[in-house]
Subunit: 330 residues, 2 copies
């Protein structure tokens, strides 16, 4: 934890904030790295940083995008992102991938798989946040969103893989949740978890091109029927089921128009701000819980006291209730 | 909280323990009510009670049973329970139903819907544990299991509804998890969450009788194919897919024989004790977490301090990180 281990020399916090607010992507990157840091002195700086930009944050539209591997997420996000920058938007892409961390391979490919978008001066692509727990990753990503917003990005895309528990986490940090699906029969309805379909604000059947087109149209009807059976969402929004082709750039602009319609509707009916507020308060209580646990488990000697009781519990020499009572009175 | 509000006069703890160990069902009921109590003096007694019986507990086989509403859980449990008591076993049935509490209707029907089993002197049926949270309900049910075991019950059945998050909780407290399914096509594969199928140690297609029999046989093949795709479980157990009819009492004894095979295998390969130990330790850490939260939120003035910061967070006047920092230093 010596300062010689730092990758970059220390930067003055106010310079970092100025660069960030000025929209400098290198400073934005540094700021995100700072809030992800586990070093105690970085934590103090992070708190000050996030607190100083909080009043300027929040002005973007946050879009979650998910889908099973193979659905064409990267190609879609590239086509979608380029469409948005053409419309004059500044687009940031963050990702949450619970199955990977920085030492593994897939993340390193983030920029190459969105080659054109990554070279767009109005786009910013950031690999998955690291973290020891999904909760930690989520908290880091939430702060990265705020930093991107402070840097003037209008659209923040949070990408995740449609197979794990990360969807609920992403749903809790975005305004709009887009599910990419593939054409096909009932098999696809099983491949994606039902609960994830119920979370979606939009179902987009990707790769609806060439020989896939008829199957895609049939799937659209199937998914429409499925969506019809779900209880109405809190935004009072009818979930659209549409086709698109990222390769042929078909349906991408239409998808964005639907999202704009959604935004207008939920801003008007109050759901937009209500949802943002609910999300922040949930995050607040999650962080309280994390803090309680880290304070408790970092007490001197607690590790030893816990180990002792774990052994007694395994051997049925003490009840769990009594072990906990003792731990809080030792 | 005056003692005049108590439903039954106080009983001496040692008498309660003696009656319980003696297998008296009325005392077992009283003991479960005691550990479910939220009164401070009852909590002290409960801790002593559970701790005194802990070394005699643990000798049963704990079986979780789930399935969507309409699958015939009650009828199955009645037929299965009667089969077991005929074999000389003492059977306890507990249930976890996150959608209900004691003031609602469904629970009151527990005994009537298992009419014959409830009149069996070797059976004990207890309605759902009450509790303010699913975690609280789970902890109460775990202690109820220990009490049933101390009272000499050989088989503890934990029943739950196959639609919510209660399955994970039940899976974490049983040795064997049995999933009841219905005959039919692909629709049923979607009705039950995929994750629940992956948890099952046994899939039993119920109502495999009369005009259902051919559909049930086809379903058995479908489920076998599905099970085949899942990763192997930690018990190194090949999940059987069988047919049964609770009404015609077909396949019930066979199901029990499979469970005995499982028990023999996992006792021999060590998974039985390893799993029990893992479950207890997980429960230990869950109770630590619950205690941390209840201690924190019950501090004087904390409610006020939280409300103040919730307002500031909603108005984006303070970052979540800073609000939490302040809360822990106020």
């Amino acid at each position: 934890m010596d300062s010689t281990f730092r990758r970059t020399p220390k930067i003055h916090l106010q310079d970092l904030i100025d660069g960030l607010i000025g929209g400098n992507r290198a400073f934005l990157s540094k700021a995100i790295t700072l809030v992800e840091s586990k070093r105690q002195d970085d934590k103090v700086q992070s708190a000050e940083l996030v607190d100083k930009i909080i009043s300027t944050a929040g002005k973007s539209l946050r879009i979650g995008i998910t889908g099973v591997p193979g659905v064409g997420k990267s190609t879609f996000i590239e086509a979608f992102g380029i469409q948005l920058t053409k419309l004059g938007k500044k687009v940031a892409v963050l990702s949450i991938d619970p199955s990977s961390n920085r030492t593994k391979g897939s993340i390193l490919g983030d920029k190459t798989r969105m080659d054109q978008l990554s070279r767009d001066p109005n786009a910013f692509i950031r690999p998955s946040a690291s973290g020891s727990s999904l909760g930690g990753v989520a908290s880091n990503t939430r702060e990265a969103i705020l930093l991107c917003e402070a840097a003037g990005f209008d659209i923040i895309i949070i990408e995740t893989v449609g197979v794990g528990q990360s969807e609920t986490i992403v749903k809790d940090m975005v305004d709009y949740f887009l599910l990419l699906m593939l054409a096909g029969g009932g098999d696809e309805l099983q491949g994606i978890k039902r609960g994830i379909m119920e979370m979606a604000d939009h179902i987009l059947i990707n790769k609806a091109d060439k020989e896939n087109i008829n199957a895609a149209k049939r799937s659209r009807e199937d998914y429409k029927n499925a969506v019809h059976l779900f209880p109405p969402n809190e935004a009072n929004w009818t979930v659209p089921v549409d086709l698109c082709s990222s390769l042929e750039n078909e349906g991408i602009l239409d998808a964005w128009k639907k999202i704009e319609m959604y935004q207008q509707q939920v801003v008007e009916n109050g759901w937009f701000m209500k949802n943002r507020s609910k999300q922040s308060l949930k995050w607040f209580h999650e962080r309280i819980q994390t803090r309680l646990e880290s304070n408790f488990y970092s007490q001197p000697k607690i590790h030893e006291e816990i180990k002792k009781r774990e052994l007694l519990i395994s051997e049925q020499q003490i009840s769990v209730r009594k072990a906990v009572d003792e731990l809080f009175n030792f």
